[in-house]
Structures are given as structure tokens and as C-alpha cells.
Symmetry: C2
């Protein structure tokens, strides 16, 4: 059941929610690699591995993760359908953390695309730009992750992460209205949020009671998206690139 979108719509290639033109998609279509499936909760790459074979996620969710010696687990970031596992524009790239599947996963090898983006960016400008943009987004989400777990309350963290998921899935066409499929266990959320699974559960209960969200069978509905975003200070990465329209948000003191 690959309910989570294909990353190519009618011949248009999409990476991390960024569409290539039909023309460039056509050029690249025959460069796509083999498809693999992976079961949930398996290690895909280990710290220190070479990242020369990035894989595009066609369905399912994955993450980067680090373990402490006593078994504590920290999820560093999540990868959703359309994201690329192990994308690096470095000529000699190394995994800075482990990569693991969180659900059943279907991936496609895109090592060739990586090579093209690196060696002939001029021939594939959109591909190269999409790769760079994906890296920027990845860093943006890392920074969001730090702010969430460093300075936000449990209910803010959960709200913020749900908004991030919604935003990212929307870009890939995987949200329906205000709803999306969330295939993660509460434990997988907890390990990303720096909380215990029990407390994630209670926090969901709180958000439901306050009518911020509805959750039924793995489907999350954000009922008050504006209010939710306001409450937890959520911002889209796109906001950063439209500096001309919005006047500069004069930030808090010093």
C-alpha cells in the first residue's frame, strides 16, 4: 500500500516538493535507478557511510537518527515521500548520522541524478537548483528542530512538528484539505521531539481537547491552522525567500 505519493506526476519530476519543467524531467526520466522496498525500522545507512547513492523516497517515511550508548534515541530529522535520503553535493560525502526507515519504504536510486547535478549543472539547471534548494530546506528543518526541542513546551513542539509535516506534504500533493496521513508511532514522534511517548500521547489529548487537531486512524486534521501556527511560532521556509514583499520583521530585543 503505497498510499504516499509517487514523486513523479505525469512525467514531471518532483524533488522535495520542487517540480522540474517537463523538458528537463524528460531528459532525466531515463536516468532514474532501481526501485527498492525496505521494511519498517531498519537501518539504511550508518554514520560514516559514503553517500554516493542517494535514494528518492516514493512512499513511506524515514529519518536520520543518533543513539546514545544506553539506548536513548534521537531522531534528527524526518524524510517524507519526495525527499532524498543521503543527498549531498559534496564530491566526497559521508553520512553524519545513521539513516533508518520508520515505515515500510519504497525508494528509487538517484545516484545518477546526483552525478549529473554535480558534474553538469549547466545542462540540468533545474535539477541542480532543486538539489540546492532541498539542502537548504533540510538545514531549515534542522534549525526548526533545535528551536522546538530547546525552547518550546511539549504542546508547542507537537503543534509545530505537525505543521511542518502538513507543509511539506502539501508541497508534494499529499495533504487533502487540512488533513494528512501520519504513519509514525507516538514513539517515533517522541524520539524526534525530545519527549517520552507517554507525554506525546497526553499532548495529543490536550490538542484534541482544545480543538486544535483531530486524529483518527493515522489521519491528522489541523482544525485551526492559523491559530496553531501563531501559537507555536511556525513559519514556512518560503517566507525567507520573499523578503521584498514582507517588510523586515524587527525581531525581539537584545
Amino acid at each position: 500500500m503505497d498510499r504516499y505519493a509517487p514523486a513523479a506526476f505525469g512525467g514531471i519530476l518532483t524533488f522535495g516538493g520542487i517540480n522540474l519543467s517537463r523538458a528537463e524531467s524528460a531528459l532525466l526520466a531515463r536516468q532514474l535507478g532501481a526501485i527498492q522496498t525496505h521494511r519498517p525500522n531498519v537501518r539504511l545507512l550508518s554514520e560514516g557511510d559514503m553517500l554516493d547513492r542517494p535514494r528518492l523516497i516514493r512512499s513511506g517515511w524515514a529519518c536520520r537518527v543518533r543513539f546514545l550508548s544506553d539506548g536513548r534515541r534521537q531522531i534528527l530529522n524526518y524524510y517524507l515521500p519526495g525527499d532524498i535520503l543521503g543527498l549531498s553535493l559534496d564530491p566526497d560525502p559521508v553520512a553524519l548520522a545513521g539513516y533508518a526507515s520508520l515505515t515500510r519504504l519504497m525508494t528509487m536510486e538517484v545516484g545518477t541524478l546526483r552525478t549529473l547535478a554535480l558534474d553538469r549543472p549547466d545542462e540540468y539547471p533545474e535539477l541542480a537548483a532543486a538539489c540546492r534548494r532541498m539542502k537548504v530546506h533540510e538545514e531549515f528543518y534542522l534549525l526548526a528542530q533545535i528551536t522546538r526541542i530547546g525552547r518550546q513546551k511539549a504542546y508547542e513542539r507537537v503543534a509545530h512538528l505537525l505543521l511542518e509535516f502538513y507543509s511539506r506534504l502539501s508541497r508534494t500533493g499529499l495533504a487533502e484539505g487540512a488533513s494528512f496521513q501520519l504513519p509514525l508511532t507516538q514513539e517515533a514522534l517522541a524520539d524526534g521531539l525530545g519527549l517520552s511517548a507517554v507525554h506525546v500521547n497526553r499532548t495529543f489529548k490536550l490538542l484534541k481537547r482544545k480543538n486544535y487537531v483531530r486524529v483518527e486512524r493515522g489521519t491528522v486534521t489541523l482544525l485551526e491552522r492559523e491559530a496553531l501556527a501563531e501559537m507555536c511560532g511556525f513559519r514556512e521556509p518560503e517566507d525567507l525567500f520573499q523578503v521584498d514583499t514582507v517588510p523586515h520583521k524587527t525581531a525581539v530585543s537584545f
Copy 2:
């Protein structure tokens, strides 16, 4: 009093602890830009700003930071002497968070170096490699930051961050034996560690009592570096690149 090292030793350029050859340093030496000083706790760049003018830190410490609407502050990463503020290899780079000084700061404009690294990497291979390496280190430290604040105890967090500072300063020649100058307030540490300033203070007291560290006048001495690293799971980024020597550390379960 710029007690914190110059980033150039006898004509050798050093970026983030990575030395260029004498030859390439000589080629680049005349491309260095103007020097500026900045007072402590001022905003250097805001979210969304163009990053076309990176600045090398010659002395002092800085950080990237994000504020919540009620004034809570999260420090995302720290920049030490020899680091570059706003380094990006993207053609059209944007600040993903604010940049601020934490101490008095002396910086040097290195926009020209950025341009050379981008446009003529073949002529300046070491410069280009150093820039890439710095970006990798930066991401490595972001991941460490996430693990610290997401899943470690206060005393582990503090120990881990001190080890990181020691490691980074050592590479630039700014550590003396087991000691280094730590010019940050406990509040600046707290905002990076996701703790309150009071608790940082108490945690220092604990680490002192256990004879892990000594602190006097802004000088930190790591008394039991091995034990400390073991206790908090600290690892050097270099470990990742020497996969051949060390057999693969089979990590915790799945």
C-alpha cells in the same frame, strides 16, 4: 584584548581549523577584506538576509539564534575564532536564522574568497575543499546540538558542549593543554543548551565537585577528558572520515 587567536599564522590561512598550504595562502592573502569590530550582543545578520558577504572571525564568539515571540531565545550553533559567519556555497544564499555576536568580535570580510571558491574551485582547490569541510562540520555540530538538547541530561549536555569547544579551539591552536578560554555567560550557554542559566550554574558546580572540570575566571580546564567524553558520548567529527582504521561501531539495536 583579542586574546583569541588570529586566523592566520605566519602567512598560513586557517579556516575553521583547516590550514591551507603556504602556496595557496599566498595567492589568497591579498584578497582578504576589511576588518571590523562589533560589540557584544548585537545582531549581525537577520533571517532572510543575503549571505554574500561572509565574515571570518579573528577573535570573539558569535552564534546563530532564533527568538520566540515571548522572548525565549534559542542559540542554534556557536561560531568561534577561525569560523566563518554566513558561509554558504549556494549561488543565491539566504540566512536561515539571525546571526549575533556573543562577545566583542573582530571579523574580516572574506566575500572575495567565497566568490573564488564558487567560481574557480580548480584554481583554489584547497580553499574550495576547506569551505566544503567547514559546511560539513557545521552540519555535524547542528546534529550534535539536537542530540544534546533532545536526549541528554543537563550534566551530559554541558560536558558535551565543553568538549566540543575544546575540540574546535584546539584545531585553531586556542587551547592550552587541557584548558581554554570560555568567554560566554552562563546565560549564553543556557540558551544553547536548552536549560535555564541557574541550572547551568548548578551543573557546573556538579561537574566541578566530581572533578571533571575546573573553572576559574573564564578559563575552563577539562580534568578527565577521556572519562568526560565517555560519560556524554562525545565524538570528534574526524572520526567519521577515518572509517578504514576503525572497524564499524555496530550501533544499538533495531
